[in-house]
């Protein structure tokens, strides 16, 4: 086997040192009853060429993505990834390294983690961020649990227009912790109805831009919550232009970080962003890198506040997290470094303007109108004149990919489609799609 360095001679020598007669004797401690029950996989070994061929078979059963124009969204977007990102993340010193428990030989990972944490705080206008979580949905769920530890009430209010995958994960984690989830419905304007805040909450969860693409009004919301924490779910690209949740007094800000330099990759690996206030540091889950000095006074980085974590606190840890999403966080760090503040603003602007252009063009077709008048960023919901499933299928035949309308339907918006537009979409593609939409209409 290619990945094993030992030769038969090596093994013979080692067996002799250990005083065993055969390699089988290394496994005499496994009960015979267990060994007898073993069944192999009936899987032949394959050479590298054969493995490559086998995996290419799978690719052939997937869509040819180069031939498609994507308007898919829902938290995962088709953004442009600068070439630098993959060159850095494929450096083996980064990707074959372990968690930086020995900081003196992990300054690469730790410095990048520190940069990442700083960048997340800058984007969200928050005070402290961890070094990443598995994805936006688990980051949100952990935020809800953290709020319950701090405030003590076993109830969370959740805005209805949340992406369903966020909601599903929150529901599961809350069920396990005995936390009641109360839903705040969307108004006819497509925003969360925050007029009546339930009492005895630990937190209120609101997403902006939300599942309709609508930007929520966060001003004054924190003041209306009393003791409860304000948890905002956001989109990192939007923060190149939009006022950050920290400005509105958010206590916790979470997001899916995929738009920052990760491909969609069929939904994983992803990147959970988590930021909060300094006063909640001791309750914050996840790894954190901190700055310090070495014995000669040189600045270096190390894992900080480890006493919150499982390897020390065990059942009293703030969470059970061990591995997070470090390499994805590195990709996001390099992505943001490649853009700079100017570039991030530029890409956010392109998203905003192209989405608004598309919205304008679609609504010029007869029977199409925006479902909501409220402001949006790069995703918007359109009321359509015929069966949205049919429209989606028709568009797909022409190579235009649009989200399944079932999620909108489950949020109470029937006969609608949602479109996400990123900087990758050219005017030509947008015009072409609108033309196709118009033609399907006529059929």
């Amino acid at each position: 086997m290619r990945y094993i360095a030992n030769t038969d001679a090596d093994r013979r020598e080692m067996l002799a040192t250990v005083g065993l007669g055969s390699l089988e004797q290394l496994f005499t401690d496994i009960p015979q009853r267990v060994k007898d029950r073993f069944q192999p996989l009936s899987l032949p070994a394959r050479t590298e060429m054969e493995v490559a061929r086998a995996l290419e078979e799978f690719v052939r059963s997937n869509n040819d993505w180069h031939g498609s124009i994507s308007f898919l969204g829902g938290g995962i977007y088709d953004h442009y990834i600068p070439s630098v990102v993959s060159h850095i993340t494929s450096r083996s010193e980064f990707y074959t390294a372990y968690t930086p428990y020995q900081p003196e030989v992990s300054q690469g990972t730790l410095t990048a983690m520190f940069e990442f944490q700083t960048l997340v705080c800058e984007l969200t206008a928050m005070e402290v961020a961890n070094a990443s979580m598995y994805d936006g949905a688990t980051a949100l769920a952990e935020g809800v649990l953290m709020a319950e530890r701090i405030v003590g009430n076993k109830r969370v209010a959740v805005a209805q227009p949340l992406f369903s995958h966020y909601r599903n994960v929150v529901d599961t984690y809350c069920w396990a912790s005995g936390i009641e989830v109360v839903e705040l419905r969307a108004t006819t304007e497509g925003r969360c109805d925050t007029a009546k805040i339930p009492d005895e909450l630990s937190s209120l969860v609101i997403q902006s831009p939300n599942a309709f693409g609508v930007i929520e009004e966060l001003e004054g919301l924190k003041d209306a919550l009393g003791k409860a924490l304000l948890i905002v779910v956001t989109n990192p690209i939007s923060l190149g232009l939009l006022a950050p949740p920290g400005q509105f007094g958010a206590d916790v800000v979470v997001s899916e970080g995929q738009p920052l330099g990760l491909s969609p990759s069929f939904g994983g690996p992803l990147l959970g962003l988590f930021a909060t206030r300094k006063r909640y540091l001791r309750q914050m889950p996840g790894r954190i890198a901190g700055q310090t000095v070495d014995t000669k006074g040189k600045i270096g980085y190390t894992m900080a506040a480890q006493t919150r974590e499982q390897h020390i606190r065990r059942e009293r840890a703030t969470s059970n997290i061990c591995t997070n999403s470090a390499l994805c966080a590195l990709a996001a760090t390099v992505y943001l470094a490649s853009l700079g503040a100017n570039g991030l603003q530029e890409v956010a602007r392109l998203n905003l303007e192209k989405a608004h252009y598309l919205a304008q063009q679609i609504t010029s077709l007869s029977g199409y109108r925006l479902a909501f008048q409220a402001p949006f960023f790069n995703e918007f919901t359109v009321q359509v004149p015929t069966d949205p499933q049919q429209l989606r299928a028709g568009l797909q035949e022409k190579g235009f990919l649009v989200d399944n309308p079932t999620q909108l339907a489950s949020l109470g918006v029937a006969d609608a489609l949602r479109f996400a537009v990123t900087e990758k979409r050219t005017k030509e593609e947008l015009d072409h799609m609108v033309k196709q939409l118009g033609e399907i209409q006529l059929e």
Binding site: M1, Y3, T7, V18, L26, D29, F38, Q39, L43, F58, V59, S61, N62, N63, W65, L72, V84, I88, E93, A97, Y98, T99, V105, T109, M113, Y134, A137, H165, T172, Y173, A176, S177, E219, L242, P244, P264, F266, G267, G268, P269, L270, R287, I288, G290, Q291, T295, G300, A304, Q310, R314, E315, T323, A326, C328, N342, Q345, E353, Q396, L401, K427
Partner: protein, 484 residues
């Protein structure tokens, strides 16, 4: 170490995106002013060469498996095959959006389905969820499954999880997160479960036992069948932490040992890269009676092909945004295809051979609390090497010899623990060099202990002040106020 924030760079970098081809009204016209950012985030604008130099320099401050021996016990730092990296980058896989129509992603769905099948069979259990994004996430999922199983049966007294005192910290943390209380069972001196203590702790308030097999001292639990039988006898479930699966790949299956739930660490046993702390993947296999509770959606096969099934009324719900870390799962799948049955056996054979060889040689110089056949890893104690020398000192001095240190201070039941796991990938020459280094360090400890206390001397930084990092936390770049 300078970070990107240490550079002053007022220029725009630009050059990534073409100028807008749609009419540009500008954000001010499209959105009310109250929704717009007033201050730009303080992200430096660097030129591309500066960015590449900075991160290339940072990478050289790291030590990865590709650099050298990495005997971190319980982490299985095996070689990360490059073919897996190449295949995971194929655009046919990376460009697949999780919400794309099923017809467009049949290849990805089929890969997930086949991986689930393979993992179920490796575990000797009925079915698998690929959703958990890490081992600890798999443990949490397992605890949720246990909770739901008993809730469905109306057995609401089942509130306790048993685990040995040698357990990895994620075990009790996961149990607690799921709302269980934790009872620690004292181990025998070799870290194996004390059957008497287990019997005393067992009653009908026990929901499950969490075991690592082999245990965290690298010793195989020879009474594993008795243990699982006893737990089943009181109606409890058996959860096995699969971190140490490398020890018996291709030879034994957790399901055959009495496990009802088993999690894999793809980034350990199945060769996917650790990435400096993720992303990993922690699929969970379950016995038949738990299948209905598995997270949704599940990947199923029917006449039309593969699809996502949400119709699972007894499911615990979702524990991940989508279907799991596809990009990681793909690498592990590719690894399994390469290995086949014969390769799996070679892995465990060489992993266990290497560990026993290093243990046999090092026990002459170091205290070996448990002197018997080990599996893929073993634990030494630094106690008795020399006065005032700790496991930390030895670990730091190993860095000067060009090795990544082993795991230290775990498991907690061995004082000054050094947990060594060579993995199957290392050759005898490397092992001999490591053994020599360890022997020399033990000699230095007696003759010139200051060398250990001052170590590392040959790393990019000297020993870092952990106390200062904890007492005066600086967790984001300290911008001076003038730039804010």
């Amino acid at each position: 170490m300078s970070s990107i924030f240490d550079r002053k760079c007022p220029q725009r970098a630009g050059g990534l995106f073409p100028t807008p081809d749609v009419p540009t009204d500008g954000a001010q016209k499209l959105l009310p002013a109250s929704l717009l950012r007033r201050k730009a985030p303080r992200i430096p604008c660097l030129s591309e060469p500066e960015i590449v130099r900075h991160y290339t320099h940072l990478s050289k401050l790291n030590y990865g498996v590709d650099d050298g021996f990495y005997p971190l016990g319980s982490c299985t730092m095996k070689y990360n095959p490059k073919i897996n990296e190449d295949l995971a980058r194929l655009p046919g896989f990376t460009q697949a959006h999780p919400l794309a129509d099923g017809k467009l992603v049949q290849g990805s769905l089929r890969l997930l389905f086949e991986m689930s099948t393979l993992l179920s069979r490796i575990a000797g259990l009925a079915d698998v969820t690929l959703q958990p994004a890490a081992g600890a996430h798999g443990e949490l999922t397992g605890m949720f499954l246990v909770k739901r199983y008993f809730a469905d049966r109306g057995e609401d007294k089942r509130c306790r999880i048993l685990l040995p005192d040698s357990a990895h910290g994620t075990n009790p943390a996961s149990a607690a997160l799921a709302g269980f209380s934790v009872t620690e069972i004292p181990s025998r001196e070799d870290g194996t479960v004390n059957l008497g203590a287990l019997e005393e702790a067992l009653d009908e308030t026990v929901a499950a036992i969490m075991l690592t097999v082999p245990n965290t001292l690298g010793i195989f639990e020879e009474q594993i069948l008795e243990i699982t039988e006893k737990v089943h006898a009181v109606g409890g479930l058996c959860y096995f932490d699969g971190a140490n699966l490398n020890a018996f790949l291709g030879r034994a299956r957790p399901g055959d040992m009495g496990a009802d739930i088993f999690h894999f660490n793809l980034h350990k046993t199945l060769s996917t890269p650790h990435g400096g702390g993720g992303p990993g993947a922690g699929p969970v296999a379950v016995a038949e009676q738990l299948v209905e509770f598995l997270p949704v959606p599940r990947v199923v096969q029917d006449d039309a092909g593969y699809r996502l099934d949400w119709n699972c009324p007894h499911s615990i719900g979702s524990i991940h945004s989508f279907y799991g870390n596809f990009g990681v799962i793909l690498k592990a799948y590719s690894y399994l295809l390469h290995l086949g049955d014969t390769g799996l056996r070679e892995v465990s054979e060489n992993a266990v051979m290497n560990a026993n060889y290093v243990q046999e040689r090092l026990k002459k110089t170091y205290c070996l609390p448990c002197d018997r056949l080990c599996k893929h890893e073993f634990v030494l104690s630094a106690k008795g090497v020399a006065e005032g020398i700790s496991a930390l000192d030895i670990a730091k001095r190993l860095i000067d010899y060009g090795f990544h240190p082993p795991t230290i201070y775990f498991p907690l039941i061995v004082p000054e623990a050094l947990m060594i796991e060579p993995t199957e990938c290392e050759g005898k020459k490397t092992l001999d060099r490591f053994i020599e280094a360890m022997e020399q360090i033990a000699a230095e400890a007696k003759e010139n202990p200051q060398l250990l206390h001052d170590a590392p001397q040959r790393a990019p930084v000297f020993r870092l002040d952990q106390t200062r990092a904890a007492r005066q936390p600086v967790l984001t770049h300290p911008f001076d106020d003038s730039s804010g």
